[in-house]
């Protein structure tokens, strides 16, 4: 009971801190001159109005197709590499292959540290680093995506592999299976639908990340949206934005089909 009331107390404290932070941030806004300056409001109207004046010229649609293709290519290449990084680290980092508790803890701590490092740096920062190092090449985009996504996938995979019902695994061990074989026959099948579903979700995030990455100058949908905004061609910008939405919807539909096939 004491711990419950303590928890309630710390919750209340947290609430007060958060409310305080909100009040402070609201107070720091310059309300007198209006949040948006007058030109801002008219620009906003112009931009939102442009959604009805989409640029559907052949040239723009051609650019959209190439940009969408490039964005998807970055995402696919980046996520594939992320899978190559994340799956082995996830398997090893879950510690399920180690039967001695000491070894398991050492491996888990070490791999968690590596995974944490990979994903604590945002892909945009990695992109800056790689563009600085190897220039505006597609490789920079792919590496920038693969590293943090590899860290994220590895972390989630390792948790999935740990959290599998014991009874079937015990039965496999009784049949003489080593921990590796228990992994292939017991753990992987148990988590496969969830693993694939989560990887698809991350692929969808990867497409959005690839879009943002292209602002750095790597080409793709984000790059085209940026250029259109610079040209004040809002209709064209919307064409690319809606193209991105369409892309995400397609990936979502694809992932749903694959998952349905696997889960049954």
């Amino acid at each position: 009971m004491a711990s419950v009331s303590k928890l309630m107390e710390s919750r209340r404290l947290l609430m007060i801190i958060l409310l305080g932070a909100l009040a402070w941030s609201l107070a720091s806004v310059e309300w007198k001159d209006g949040v948006l300056h007058t030109r801002g409001i008219s620009a906003l109207g112009e931009i939102s109005g442009a959604i009805f004046k989409l640029d559907l010229s052949g040239e723009t649609l051609g650019k959209l197709l190439i940009a969408a293709w490039r964005t998807v290519a970055y995402a696919v290449a980046g996520l594939s590499l992320a899978l190559v990084i994340g799956l082995p680290l996830g398997i090893v980092g879950s510690g399920v292959l180690n039967s001695s508790a000491n070894k398991r803890r050492t491996v888990q701590t070490l791999v968690r540290f590596i995974l944490g490092f990979l994903r604590s740096i945002h892909e945009l920062v990695w992109a800056w680093l790689f563009v600085a190092a190897i220039g505006l090449s597609p490789l920079a985009a792919v590496l920038a995506l693969a590293i943090p996504y590899g860290g994220i996938l590895g972390r989630i995979y390792s948790e999935l592999f740990q959290d599998v019902p014991e009874a079937p695994l015990r039965a496999l061990r009784n049949a003489g299976a080593s921990e590796w074989r228990v992994f292939w026959y017991g753990r992987l099948p148990a988590v496969l639908p969830e693993l694939i579903g989560y990887t698809f979700y991350r692929f969808e995030c990867g497409i959005r990340s690839a879009t943002v990455l292209s602002f750095v100058g790597l080409g793709g949908l984000g790059y085209q949206i940026g250029i259109s905004l610079d040209d004040l061609a809002y209709g064209r910008a919307w064409t690319f934005i809606l193209g991105l939405v369409g892309l995400i919807v397609l990936v979502e539909a694809w992932s749903a089909t694959v998952r349905r096939k696997i889960i049954l």
């Binding site: 009874a167 079937p168 299976a177 080593s178 292939w184 148990a190 496969l192």
Partner: protein, 261 residues
């Protein structure tokens, strides 16, 4: 202590020999100084109230739990000297109560998992994509009467069908001793009898030693050669199933009055 030399001569002929076996959990002993000798090919059932130590005794014989005192020998080999994995799996197979199939794998793949102790690493992984030794597994599934459901995911099979798959898996594993912990207690009575009859007849035709823990005393009496009554981790009686008397059973299941000490 009895003289060891006398039992040494007998032991190689025995499928299972258990001497002075004790296992404690905290201060309570789940299994207390148990002696048990099982000749090859015998079907023997542990009976007794819940908490009597039936499951723990099976786990001790399976080598999945290590004893605090005493020893288990399988075909004359000390259990503690047997390597877990291939070596142990070639001697002992286990059929559990339920929920021990991999639900997302097909019945066929679950049966083939019985070969994992014998297969090499690559063969094991490749078999997930293109099943190896398929005829062997199909014969086993045919024997347990569900060859038609080979491609079905195990999670979609009924309780009775799942136990049949588990039996087929142990057939494919091909051990000399089968340990079955309450193999049919999760099934309805009619199905329980079918599955138990199947398990016992497979053990018989392959000349395997079968040791099971049984909840249903009538089934145990009808299908097993020998009954071992366990209570509070000790053997209360150990005799041919036909010799077990009403008095034995009353003593086995009587409600104990709570008494200090």
């Amino acid at each position: 202590m009895q003289p060891r030399s006398a039992s040494l001569n007998v032991r190689p002929a025995l499928a299972v020999s258990v001497e002075g076996l004790t296992k404690r959990f905290g201060i309570t002993s789940a299994v207390n100084d148990v002696e048990l000798f099982v000749p090859p090919g015998q079907a023997i059932a542990f009976v007794g109230p819940s908490g009597a130590g039936k499951t723990t005794l099976l786990e001790l014989i399976a080598g999945s739990v290590s004893p605090d005192a005493g020893r288990v020998s399988l075909y004359g080999q000390d259990l503690s000297s047997l390597k877990p994995g291939r070596e142990l799996a070639s001697l002992v197979g286990v059929v559990a109560q339920q929920y021990d199939l991999v639900p997302n794998l097909s019945a066929l793949q679950n049966v083939l998992a019985g070969r994992l102790g014998a297969w090499g690493a690559w063969k094991s992984i490749l078999s997930l994509l293109a099943p190896r030794d398929k005829p062997l597994a199909m014969r086993a599934l045919e024997r347990v009467g569900i060859a038609g459901r080979a491609e079905e995911r195990a999670g979609r099979l009924s309780g009775g069908e799942q136990q049949r798959v588990a039996i087929a898996r142990v057939v494919v594993q091909d051990p000399k001793i089968i340990l079955a912990d309450e193999p049919v207690s999760s099934l309805d009575p009619a199905r329980a009898e079918d599955v138990l009859a199947l398990l016992v007849s497979i053990a018989h035709e392959r000349k395997l030693t079968l040791i099971a823990s049984m909840h249903a005393i009538d089934l145990a009496t009808r299908y097993f050669d020998r009954l071992v009554g366990l209570r509070n981790g000790r053997i209360l009686f150990d005799c041919p199933a036909s010799d077990v008397t009403r008095t034995d059973l009353n003593a086995l299941y009587k409600i104990e009055e709570e008494r200090g000490g």
